[in-house]
């Protein structure tokens, strides 16, 4: 099968996001021999990035406009819809990131195609597509089938789940300048960007982290992990629910909406292992999981696991470490 695939690529600041090449990898496989793969790029002053994309994509449609300086899911969906109507791709791909969540569902409705969100795998099947998704907090996986509409279909891909395609040496793809539709920027206007608060400690520099999650149950119980961290000479990090409850500052949150850390050792205490949390742990640390649920997804990715109550394990571990250190 040879089809036309359109990827809506994201920027990370002034560079292309890694997912730009992951979308290309997935799109090439799905487009098949004789198919074509194009990219839509949106931003302000993004000529260099367009040339970069042309090293891998057959076509690059560029929306270069001051109104698109910051990623705006609403404006982007309104901008891309006429391109989709003109180019008629059989399949539209974008990334299932925070930016993608702000963008993809709206575009799918505006162009009249069904959406397969947050795919871990995506294949052709029975004239349509079949996708694998993680549901119930990652405890169950599901295969969903999607029947395209007359306008095609759309899928969003989880970051890191698809192998990136290597761009070539030559920018042989064709670059096309696009104009913005009149309704772009209607109803929603950017005001400002808010940088995260710097915390009193910088967990991104720590070589050992004790990460604490919802399993800690109460603010007072944090002491258990704080003493363990102290014994190890580690810093305390946490998952999002701990910050949401106001028990620890946002500057200690690891994950896709928190910080990216790269310690040598990460000890996850009462953390289930959601992809949004694990997405913030880079550099393949030695990963220890302490969780009383043997089926917690974190045991699938940890190096060493303890299936037990953290309130038994953590104090005992602290004591042993203090002994060992003398």
């Amino acid at each position: 099968m040879a089809i036309k695939v359109l990827c809506i690529v994201e920027r990370a600041g002034s560079a292309l996001d890694d997912t730009a090449w992951e979308l290309l990898g997935a799109a090439r496989a799905l487009a098949g021999d004789g198919g074509s793969v194009g990219a839509a790029l949106l931003g302000d002053g993004v000529g260099d990035l367009a040339a970069d994309l042309a090293r891998g994509y057959d076509d690059v449609w560029v929306f270069d406009d001051a109104r698109l300086a910051a990623w705006d899911g609403e404006a982007n969906a309104r901008a891309v819809a006429p391109l989709v109507a003109r180019e008629k791709p059989a399949l539209i791909l974008s990334a299932h990131t925070n930016l993608g969540i702000d963008f993809a569902p709206g575009l799918s409705v505006r162009v009249g195609v069904p959406l397969l969100p947050d795919c871990l795998a995506l294949e052709h099947a029975d004239g349509g597509y079949v996708a694998v998704r993680a549901i119930y907090g990652g405890k169950v996986h599901a295969r969903f089938a999607c029947a395209p509409s007359e306008h095609g279909a759309m899928a969003t891909l989880r970051a890191g789940a698809f192998a990136a395609a290597e761009p070539g040496a030559d920018a042989s793809g064709e670059i096309h300048a696009e104009t913005l539709a009149a309704d772009v920027g209607q109803g929603r206007r950017p005001v400002r960007t808010v940088e995260p608060d710097a915390g009193e400690v910088d967990i991104t520099q720590a070589s050992i982290l004790v990460g604490v999650g919802r399993g800690i149950e109460d603010e007072e119980n944090l002491e258990v992990v704080q003493s363990l961290a102290e014994a190890l000479g580690a810093e305390v990090a946490c998952s999002r629910p701990v910050v949401d409850k106001g028990w620890l500052p946002k500057s200690r949150q690891v994950g896709t909406s928190g910080l990216t850390v790269k310690p040598k050792v990460y000890i996850a205490v009462g953390i289930s292992g959601s992809f949004q949390h694990m997405g913030g742990i880079k550099g393949s640390p030695f990963l220890v999981a302490i969780n009383k649920d043997a089926r917690a997804p974190i045991f699938g990715v940890a190096d060493v696991g303890v299936v037990d109550d953290l309130f038994d394990v953590v104090p005992a571990l602290e004591e042993k470490i203090r002994e060992a250190k003398g």
């Binding site: 569902p105 799918s108 409705v109 990652g138 960007t193």
Partner: protein, 259 residues
């Protein structure tokens, strides 16, 4: 400000041994506890706070079966003025776009200034409903809100973008906003509070009331199979009593430079 908040009842699987039924299409949820989707509790709270500050009303909506009425009662107990149960046998097989169409039909029938949804449903969801709903209603939207402020007929919304960054945008109303956890601290509902709303009549609307033809909800995305995730190499699980386990863990940490 008249605010509609969309809520969903979901099972809590965080500590449960999830089993897949022999059909391969459902999990065995008979022993699970159910409640309002975590994100939706924040959405209801945000709606109530906006109403308390600026006046207006809060209406809670859910698309679901008989048992799902429970979450509407919880929203009423939290302080919502009204609830509406969108229930019909014809809704049973709806895909997420179908659910969005049902909600859009119900919302489009009444005056509203703002629709709040959760960012994602914690069971089978994937953060698509709010964006679809906004496009169906043809109003602006923003996803993953962490703060809202209303002034001069406009809603300012701070929301999560990438890498810990947040951005502030201004929305013309009406609009749809999807709410992220941590935006507020949802108020506590006592048993007494629930009891107080136990006899409130909750209106039900189905396909006919909403003017939805059967064909309009034909699902394009369908579940084929559930399976347990492959564990990959998986962790080395340390066995023994607490003492032995901790002993081994210290050894491993020493080998890997953790001590």
């Amino acid at each position: 400000m008249d605010i509609v908040v969309c809520i969903k009842r979901v099972p809590d699987v965080a500590e449960a041994d999830v089993e897949i039924e022999s059909s391969g299409l459902r999990i065995d949820d008979s022993d699970l506890s159910w409640g309002m989707n975590e994100w939706d509790t924040f959405a209801v709270e945000e709606a109530l706070r906006l109403k308390e500050a600026h006046g207006g009303s809060v209406t809670a909506l859910t698309v679901g079966g008989e048992d799902d009425e429970e979450v509407l009662r919880r929203a009423l107990a939290m302080g919502a003025d009204q609830a509406l149960h969108l229930q019909d046998d014809a809704f049973a097989g709806a895909d997420p776009l179908g659910v969005a169409k049902i909600l859009a039909a119900a919302i489009g029938k009444r005056p509203y200034d703002l629709v709040l949804t959760g960012a994602v449903s914690g069971d089978t969801g994937s953060a698509q409903l709010g964006g679809m709903l906004a496009a169906l209603l043809d109003v602006p939207q923003v996803a993953l809100a962490t703060r809202t402020a209303f002034a001069d007929g406009k809603l300012e919304v701070q929301h999560e973008v990438e890498g810990g960054l947040e951005r502030v945008v201004e929305l013309d109303l009406p609009a749809v906003v999807t709410v992220q956890t941590g935006i507020n601290q949802p108020r506590y509902v006592s048993i007494r509070g629930i009891r107080k709303v136990a006899s409130v009549e909750i209106p039900v609307e189905g396909a006919a009331e909403l003017g939805l033809a059967a064909g309009a909800l034909a699902a394009q995305v369908t579940l084929k199979e559930l399976f347990l995730p492959p564990t990959g190499d998986g962790a080395e699980i340390l066995e023994g009593n607490t003492d032995e386990v901790v002993e081994k863990l210290v050894e491993r940490l020493r080998e890997r430079g953790g001590i």
